[in-house]
Structures are given as structure tokens and as C-alpha cells.
Symmetry: C2
Subunit: 192 residues, 2 copies
DNA sequence: AGGTCTATCAAGCACATGCTTGACAACTGT
DNA sequence: ACAGTTGTCAAGCATGTGCTTGATAGACCT
């Protein structure tokens, strides 16, 4: 209950708005009791970090038997779902990313989350490149970075609307996908 | 001197590390004197915002007679220069972006900076699309968003090294540029 | 039953921090 | 010359905030 309350407060007001007293009041306990369970504020933040990590993991449902294009599409949609329906997750993530430069423990958490995300994207891209649905001359790592940065553009609220987000994804997908003869006016050979 | 000191402190320790007393000590004045010039902390932050804006403007040198590809390349390089040689600018920018969701005045500043940036990129892309060096089927706004998000990925320290940054740019450029016959094994017609 | 551990509370300590007060001196305009 | 303005300072006020103290009651073990 304590970490959940802290999670909500961070999502809404950021680290700046995090007061141990407030959390205690929200949960309905004395602040001394809170400090009994979490001796320092750092410990509490650590607890929130673990909650964030476990929630992301819990929601990362592995889907079997999907094509690369389907997987990519699902990942876009997941991002949109987070953005529209679960903004607290992204809000907390954003806060942690913001604090990462100044806090080694948080930096490690963020790096772990980020590496997992990048690995997922690379996996999808590799699959698509191998089965011919994505361009053959794709640099997997760079492409993954661009995709993640674009999504992060949304998360960091550089994009403002769902439609902006979708348009960006549409353009990215166009770039990723291999040429289709029926979509082009001339035969295109991409693979060297 | 006061806003410059505040600028440096924000670049190094973020808003969390900003204390009026510290700024006063850094400048060598009494904190009451500081509050004489900047009645509230908000005023001081406002001063830093203006400094940031004017510095970005001062460094945005308009270059004449360059091709779209050259302009894009210059913009990449500018970003790298900021990253390598002027990290304080990006650090402060990052802090302001982080605070934007919770502060209307800062949000306006960030939107202004961001809109200017996007307009520059769109201008370049349009030029390149018209002269045939970029793909004809580019959605200017989406492409600009992707480019900016990628750069912001660096700024937000999702990318860690200059090489990561360059690789990302290389991939993006590949996507942007129109097909060249001498680079491909078959003739490609992109324009509809 | 007695001892120990755990969760809880009211009260408060210690310190940080934005900002104020009241005084003084230098400068400025008339 | 004098009144007003401006920049400066030492001291301090008011409040917020992480965390501690000392006490109490219940749970658990032997």
C-alpha cells in the first residue's frame, strides 16, 4: 500500500512532490510507521522502482506465432495503450529517467528497463529482416534506437496527441518495410 | 552574474539542487541581495529561461546557400557539438522539459523552443524533397518529429555515446535520401 | 507466564530553505 | 543640500521535511 501510494504521487507530481508525511497520510498511518517500514526516503523510492519494474514485466506478455510486422504493430499499440490508459506508468518512468543522471541506483534501473526494451525491438527487427518483410540493409541497433527514441518522444511529451504518435509510426513503418511490387510503380531490388 | 550562476547550477544538479542561498554564495553576495533582484525563486528561474532562449537564438546561425543535405548534416553536427562541447545547454533544456508538465510558464518556453526547432527541420526537409534529394513521399511533419525525437533521445541520455548518435543519424539519413541509381542494383522509382 | 519481536502512535528534534526586516551607505536628481 | 532611490548586509522568521524517541499494545515463541 505504501509503495503504491508513493507510485501514484510520483506519477502525478514527480519526485519533487514526494513527501513521506503525505504518503503516510494517504495510506492512513503515522509517518513514524512509514519510516519503520522504509527507514529512509531512498528505500521508499527503491520500493517504487521495484514496483515499476515488476509491473512492466508483468505486462510484457510474450505472444507466440506472430510475424515481425504483427509484432511491431503490437508494440506500437502497446505504447499507445500505455500512453492513453496507463499514463502513470510512463509518468513514473519519465521521472526515473530524469533522475537517472544524478542517481546511480536509478540509472541502473533505467538501463535495465531500457536494455530489455531495446532487445525486444531488435529481436522483432531481426525476425522481419530475415523473413524479408523488413528491408535487408537495416542496421538493427540503429533502427531500434530510432524506434525507441521516437516512442520516447511521446513519453517525454514532445508529441502531444495520439494522432501525432500514429503518424510518426506510420512513417517509420514505411521506412522499415521492404518494397512491395504492388505498391510501387517499378520493380525495386533492395537486397544486395 | 546571478542568472549565469543559476544556469550552471541547474545544468549540474537540476532544479532539485537550486538553492537561492547557494547562488548568492557563488556570486559572492548576500542572499537578501539576491532576493532584491529576484524577489522569488520563480523569477530567478524565469531569468534562466530567458538566458537559455537567448543563447539558443544566438547560436542558431542562419547559413545561406546550402543544400538540404548540407543543412541536415549541419543540424546533426550542431546537435553533436551541443552534446560534446556544451552539455550545460542540453542539461538545462532537459531540466526545463522535465518540469514543463507541471509548470505552465516553463511549458510555454519549451513549446516555443520546440516549435522553432521543428520549423527548422521541416524547412530543410521540404527543400530537400522539392529538389529531389529526399524521398518524394515524405510526410514532412512526421519525419521532422522522428528526427527531433531521435535527437532528443540523445539529449535525454538514452543514447550514451557519440558513436551511437552518429550511427542513428546515418540510418536516418539513409531512410531520408532518395534512391540513387549508382547505389542500387536496380532502377527505383519513388515518386508517384 | 514471561520474554521478545513487530507494528503502531504522538510528539518532537534538527536542519534546510524561501523570503523578510531593519539598518546603512552610496548614488541621483532637483 | 537634501530627499528619494538603489544595492547591500546581518540577522532572523516561518515553514517544511526527513527522521528519531519513547511509549504502548498485540502477536508469537518457549
Amino acid at each position: 500500500m505504501i509503495v503504491e501510494a508513493a507510485f501514484k504521487v510520483i506519477a502525478k507530481d514527480g519526485f519533487e512532490g514526494l513527501r513521506t508525511r503525505d504518503i503516510a497520510r494517504l495510506v492512513g498511518i503515522n509517518s513514524a510507521t512509514l519510516h519503520h517500514h522504509f527507514p529512509t526516503k531512498e528505500n521508499l523510492i527503491e520500493g517504487v522502482a521495484n514496483l515499476l519494474l515488476s509491473r512492466f514485466r508483468a505486462e510484457a506478455a510474450a505472444v507466440e506465432d506472430e510475424t515481425a510486422v504483427e509484432a511491431l504493430d503490437r508494440q506500437w499499440k502497446d505504447a499507445i495503450v500505455y500512453y492513453m490508459d496507463r499514463p502513470e506508468m510512463l509518468g513514473v518512468y519519465r521521472e526515473f529517467v530524469g533522475r537517472a543522471p544524478r542517481d546511480p541506483a536509478i540509472r541502473r534501473l533505467v538501463q535495465r528497463l531500457h536494455a530489455g526494451w531495446q532487445a525486444d525491438v531488435i529481436e522483432t527487427l531481426k525476425k522481419g529482416r530475415n523473413d524479408g518483410s523488413f528491408r535487408a540493409d537495416l542496421d538493427l541497433e540503429s533502427a531500434a534506437r530510432i524506434i525507441i527514441s521516437t516512442v520516447w518522444g511521446l513519453v517525454a511529451q514532445i508529441f502531444s496527441t495520439k494522432d501525432d504518435f500514429k503518424a510518426g509510426f506510420h512513417e517509420l513503418t514505411t521506412w522499415l518495410i521492404a518494397e512491395q511490387e504492388d505498391k510501387r510503380s517499378a520493380k525495386t531490388i533492395r537486397r544486395k
